[in-house]
């Protein structure tokens, strides 16, 4: 497992640079008003559908949730982009025993209320049009291991174009409560119901 070597100065610079890149690549980034609970770390779950979504989550962490962002990445992906290691990227290898170490590492990060960890519960890249979010079981272990106060937030990112040549990112945020409050099955169900509702709400967004 590769732990994060987050350097504050570099991460701040990266967040600024990525904000510039995202504003250039996207027409609009529409984030609904959302304030995380005070004194709680944030476990951010996100649908994984593109190259951009981790950066969208980093943007959310910096400019809206005001937390230090860490992201769980596949080991081979991180090895190819080791620079991300300085911005909070740490690895997980799905096939090896080290997976448990990675989950424990993520849980430890979440004990600090200043931190936020981004996890893609689907574990792989799936189309943005999918109606079902399959949550991998490792997340259950991760949540169980969190000892400090932690809020779980699910964000459904949807990309739409409408009148612009550039795409727009629409964030749909769901507060899933405090870690350990909901049983895992109920959490999965809640995420899926919300995701389907977000797809319906997307039809009526302002453009």
């Amino acid at each position: 497992m590769i732990p994060a070597r987050r350097i504050k100065f570099l991460s701040d610079w990266f967040a600024l640079y990525m904000r510039y890149r995202m504003r250039k690549a996207f027409n609009r980034l529409v984030v609904p008003p959302f304030t995380p609970k005070k004194g709680h770390s944030v476990l951010l779950l996100c649908n994984h559908f593109s190259w951009w979504d981790a950066f969208c989550c980093n943007y959310l962490a910096y400019w809206h949730l005001h937390r230090k962002s860490y992201a769980m990445m596949q080991e081979d992906h991180l090895q190819k982009r080791m620079l991300l290691n300085f911005f909070g990227g740490f690895s997980i290898s799905r096939s090896s025993r080290e997976m448990i170490t990675s989950l424990q590492y993520a849980a430890n990060l979440l004990n600090n209320p200043e931190n936020m960890v981004v996890v893609f519960p689907q574990g792989r890249l799936i189309s943005n049009h999918t109606t079902e979010i399959v949550v991998e079981k490792g997340l259950e272990r991760l949540i169980k291991n969190i000892k400090g106060p932690c809020q779980i937030v699910y964000t459904c990112l949807l990309i739409d174009y409408f009148e612009s040549l550039k795409p727009s990112v629409f964030y749909h945020l769901l507060d899933c409560g405090i870690a350990g409050e909901l049983p895992f099955d109920e959490l999965t169900e809640k995420i899926n119901t919300f995701h389907q509702q977000a797809l319906k709400d997307q039809l009526n967004v302002e453009h």
């Binding site: 799936i126 189309s127 049009h129 990309i159 612009s164 040549l165 039809l203």
Partner: protein
């Protein structure tokens, strides 16, 4: 009503520009090949969610057949982008009596086998995440007038970026053998079936 204008030079300039921006903005444009009857014109019915879908279909259809490309646009769009009339765009104003003239013109175009007319029967921009398409009635008039002279092709387009920075446009094409519909609901249902299967295929894309 704005009619398409013939100008070889401007048409070529427009074609080069469209190719240039498609190459610049898209990683790839995918489409499936279908059999096209050379002795009949083409009525291409597509979903409308961005400005790109017309351009992407123009690119794809050029590779599938050598027919002359025409597209029905809203009058406001045709006025905003006056160059498009050299690429085969003609306008429709849904609120005025001119609308009938535009529909007749489209039917006239379909009478000649060397033509292809692209129509977005949804009539305005919707989200790419729409479940049920809704068509406006006008298209039936065109089909009645040009009965037997055209072949009907359905197109469903989706744009997603997956593992790349730039998006991939995927076009699902299918040829509908039945070209007579009693009412607009029957046509909508028929297109909806194609749209649903295309969407299912799109959501199956897992990386």
């Amino acid at each position: 009503m704005i009619y398409p204008k013939k100008n070889g030079l401007l048409r070529r300039v427009l074609k080069t520009y469209v190719h240039f921006i498609l190459k610049r903005y898209f990683y790839r444009i995918d489409f499936n090949t279908i059999e096209i009857e050379p002795k009949k014109s083409i009525l291409l019915v597509a979903n409308h969610f961005s400005i790109w879908d017309g351009l992407v279909l123009y690119w794809a259809m050029q590779r599938l057949s050598a027919k002359n490309f025409y597209v029905m646009l809203l009058e406001e769009t045709a006025k905003k982008e006056p160059m498009l009339k050299y690429g085969g765009a003609f306008s429709i104003n849904k609120t005025s009596k001119d609308a009938l003239q535009s529909l007749n013109y489209a039917a006239q175009l379909l009478a000649a086998p060397q033509n292809l007319v692209l129509i977005f029967p949804q009539g305005k921009l919707y989200s790419n995440f729409i479940d049920e398409v809704q068509f406006e009635k006008g298209i039936l008039k065109i089909m009645e007038q040009a009965k037997g002279k055209f072949q009907l092709i359905y197109a469903a387009t989706f744009i997603e970026s997956f593992q790349h920075k730039k998006p991939i446009a995927t076009i699902y094409l299918s040829r509908e053998t039945n070209c007579t519909f009693e009412n607009i609901e029957a046509l909508t249902d028929s297109y909806q079936q194609h749209y649903n299967t295309s969407r299912q295929q799109q959501t199956k894309l897992v990386l």
